[in-house]
């Protein structure tokens, strides 16, 4: 069976444009990720504003802003990198960098919560 009967699975067709819109979906996934980062970042800034120790708050906001900038740059480069019909796979370094930015936010948050509750 060649799989051409109606309702059956269609054989994969090689075209210039991916009919499954995989690059587009990946681009949207990056957008969702930056948006989620923005929401978590706003909560982090709110947390910093409540901190008693303004030095800790300032440093944490600075680091979180750095992490957000990192995610934005990564996402932008990836979005343009997904333009070709057959994009390259995500480089290891970028994946590690994206995770590191998020890790930075979590560590800033932990510092803020810790000093907020002991200070």
């Amino acid at each position: 069976m060649s799989g051409t009967e109606p309702g059956g699975p269609r054989p994969a067709v090689e075209t210039d444009r991916d009919p499954g819109l995989q690059p587009e979906r990946t681009r949207l996934a990056w957008r969702r990720t930056t948006l989620s980062w923005a929401v978590a970042g706003v909560l982090a800034v709110r947390q910093a504003l409540r901190a008693d120790d303004s030095a800790v708050g300032g440093i944490a906001v600075g680091l979180a802003a750095f992490g957000f900038l990192g995610i934005l740059v990564l996402a932008h480069r990836r979005l343009t990198g997904l333009d070709p019909a057959r994009p390259e796979a995500l480089p290891n370094r970028w994946a590690v960098a994206a995770a590191a930015c998020t890790l930075l936010l979590a560590l800033c948050g932990a510092a803020l919560v810790w000093w907020g509750s002991t200070g």
């Binding site: 991916d18 499954g20 995989q22 690059p23 979906r25 990946t26 996934a29 990056w30 969702r32 990720t33 989620s36 980062w37 929401v39 978590a40 909560l43 982090a44 709110r46 947390q47 409540r50 997904l82 057959r86 994009p87 390259e88 796979a89 995500l90 480089p91 290891n92 370094r93 994946a95 590690v96 994206a98 995770a99 998020t102 890790l103 936010l105 979590a106 560590l107 948050g109 932990a110 919560v113 810790w114 907020g116 509750s117």
Partner: protein, 137 residues
């Protein structure tokens, strides 16, 4: 596996994160769509981590009427730690999946999603109890 063996396995996988040429040298380059699907899964895990981190902030900021400061801080730190774990696991799972796809092996199985689900369910139930009793009391 012994503790030492575990440690060596962990070092091995972290080494893989930073060694793209080692991943690339094995197997064949897969259809780009598989790599992109793997990338989206990675991003979904990063968002899960962000949700846990955001949840940690929210617990500390919005449950002020229900919980004492120490309980709030402990819960927030637990959620933030969950976010950190999710982040690390996102990269690790992405690298291992990429490698498995290149080598034509089956994708790595993992207990992590089940553990995370149980943890989130327990935390959610605890929050419901706290909020309900907070209103009643």
């Amino acid at each position: 596996m012994s503790g030492f063996g575990r440690l060596r396995a962990a070092r091995e996988s972290v080494g893989l994160w930073f060694a793209p040429e080692r991943v690339r040298s094995e197997g064949t380059t897969p259809d780009y769509r598989f790599s992109l699907a793997n990338e989206r899964t990675f991003l979904a895990w990063i968002r899960t981590a962000l949700a846990l981190i955001g949840g940690g902030f929210a617990v500390d900021q919005f449950l002020t009427d229900h919980l004492t400061q120490w309980v709030r801080a402990a819960l927030a730190l637990a959620l933030l730690a969950g976010g950190v774990l999710c982040c690390l696991r996102a990269v690790n799972h992405w690298v291992r999946s990429e490698r498995a796809i290149r080598l034509g092996r089956s994708l790595p199985a993992s207990r992590f999603p089940a553990l995370l689900a149980v943890l989130v369910a327990v935390l959610g139930l605890a929050m419901v109890v706290v909020v309900v009793f907070g209103w009643a009391g």
